[in-house]
């Protein structure tokens, strides 16, 4: 059940967008496709929706082979980055579109549309045109429109990518809560690792047309399978030839077991956090992330000597 993708390949001219991709998306879960732009995640999503044809491979939705089905027969809800609002139709008619196409009775359509508008907090905007809504409101309308036809899966292509940071954060929390209420199998594409870590049950990291790793947010953060996943999911730095998180480094003002000697090169305060650039003999530069309190307790200033070692049992990969 859910979505099953096997051996999907797609090229655009000489560019390999997807290279023999296999993926299984659990039914009812909220899954993020995470990766840098041009990595193939949107293409994969569009292939699942039928908006793009794969060169090879198969797509199964809810146990049914959908590889050759037209988008309109796939029972998927799709939400576009730039909303794809029907500009000439009111918010009500936008949400009602799929139901009108299915020729449902008028009073049923009315009931269902108002139910959905309530769910996305747009009930008082039913008669507005999309142009009279803000970006965030438009995207919520698009979501209600996609949910109206009760799709088997909901696919969102960088749904919050066109919104400003504050609205993006709000909508992200709201999507999580919505999913907890509606429980439809949901896949969303994002290049924002924070968004993926915060919202999803499972993250699929995609890069250069291949899947790098699949796992829960904690798994991926704590046990990254390779350097790409580790560096894409959070900040990294090198210490004694190992890739570590800057917040996983202990700093001592006196020599300690297994600690390497370094010199504080630069201190930068960013709000509550202090970023220290350290120079050891072996690494190009090691960035250490401390709280303001830690930095003050150690009495760090530029030019002093310190000893560094990774926090025991912290995540690290040999470079």
């Amino acid at each position: 059940m859910g979505i099953e993708v096997r051996g999907i390949a797609k090229r655009f001219g000489d560019f390999v967008a997807l290279d023999d991709v296999d993926l299984r998306v659990q039914s009812g879960a909220l899954t993020a496709l995470l990766g840098p732009s041009g990595g193939g995640k949107s293409t994969l999503l569009r292939i699942v929706a039928g908006l793009e044809k794969p060169d090879a491979g198969s797509v199964e939705i809810d146990g049914q082979d959908a590889t050759r089905l037209a988008p309109r027969h796939r029972d998927v809800g799709f939400v576009f980055q730039h909303y794809a609002a029907f500009t000439h139709l009111s918010v009500f008619r936008n949400v009602a579109f799929g139901l009108e196409i299915r020729k449902r009775p008028k009073d049923e359509i009315r009931r269902r549309v108002y139910e959905l508008l309530e769910l996305v907090h747009l009930e008082q905007f039913a008669d507005r045109l999309p142009a009279e809504l803000s970006g965030g409101q438009r995207q919520r309308m698009a979501l209600a429109r996609a949910l109206a036809v009760e799709p088997k899966v909901l696919l969102l292509d960088e749904p919050f990518g066109a919104l400003d940071a504050k609205v993006r954060k709000e909508l992200r929390d709201w999507l999580r809560r919505l999913h907890d209420e509606v429980h439809v199998t949901t896949v969303f594409v994002t290049h924002d690792q924070e968004e993926a870590l915060e919202v999803s049950d499972e993250i699929v990291v995609i890069n250069n047309g291949r899947i790098e790793q699949v796992g829960s947010p904690d798994d991926l953060y704590d046990k990254p399978g390779n350097q790409f996943v580790m560096s894409f999911l959070g900040p990294v730095t090198t210490l004694s030839g190992r890739l570590v998180r800057p917040h996983d480094i202990e700093v001592f003002t006196v020599p300690a077991d297994d600690a390497v000697r370094a010199q504080v090169n630069r201190l930068q305060r960013v709000g509550f956090e202090v970023r220290a650039e350290m120079v050891t003999g072996t690494d190009a530069a090691t960035t250490v992330q401390l709280t303001r309190g830690q930095s003050e307790a150690l009495n760090l200033t530029e030019g002093v000597a310190v000893w560094l070692r990774p926090v025991p049992n912290s995540t690290g990969l040999t470079v």
Binding site: L51, A70, R72, F78, A84, A131, E132, Q137, V149
Partner: protein, 283 residues
Amino acid sequence: MAESTIVPIAPAPVTPRRERVTGASIGLRTIGIGYVSLIVLAPIAVLLYRALKPGLGSVLNSLDDVETQHAFQVTAIVAGSAVVIDTVFGVAVAILLVRYRFPGRRLLSAFIDLPIAVSPIVVGLALLLVYSPTGWFGTLTQDHVITAKPGMVLATVFVSLPLVARAIIPVLEQAGLDQDQAAASLGANAFARFVRITLPTIRIALAYGVVLALARCIGEYGAVLVVSGNIIGQTETGPTHINTELENFNDDGAYAIALVLMLIAFAAILLGAYIRRRQRRGN
């Protein structure tokens, strides 16, 4: 997170204008107004004056003539048919060019504009070579195309072909494919998507293109003249009948027809301006 803030309707983008009166603005105004006055307004004014000089009764009298009435009828039939063809073809080609990528696409796009560049009389001659009884398809077409209405419609379509397509293409390009794909994922088939999404999106541009094409079709002279054979009472149109009247030294009759054609043109321009204003207001 229910926002109760009411978002104001974004005003349509307005090109910034310079308000100040400067030497440059006065110079440009002089050139613009002078140009339009001398080349466009003065001849039109004189024509209107000349047409109405015999008096309104006399003008109506001139128009109440079997041959003239027939010529207007032919114009209505030929222009009407040509506009229908232009519209169907224009919408189809615009969708093809904007939404599909295929070998020869750019060539097709260039060829659509050809009729604007070619002299109408050359179009007429070319059609003659292909469709006249002695032409390439002559055995097939006999005299049913050339010196008949089908040929006149053909010639009119040829010269007005790009107007509808060119009016729609920018709007289709701006709208992109997202709405169409969203409708598809919601279960709409190609016909439903065309009727419910594409047509409403382009409706104002389409109306503008149709008005332009209609004006062009009603006024066409050169291509139609060559193809129609200008048979009085049969294949004469409004514009070609003006020529006949002038040759018969019936100047009042010629100016009366010119007056009618001019009024139709004015109506078309006003209608076009009205449609474009609605378009600028963001549908």
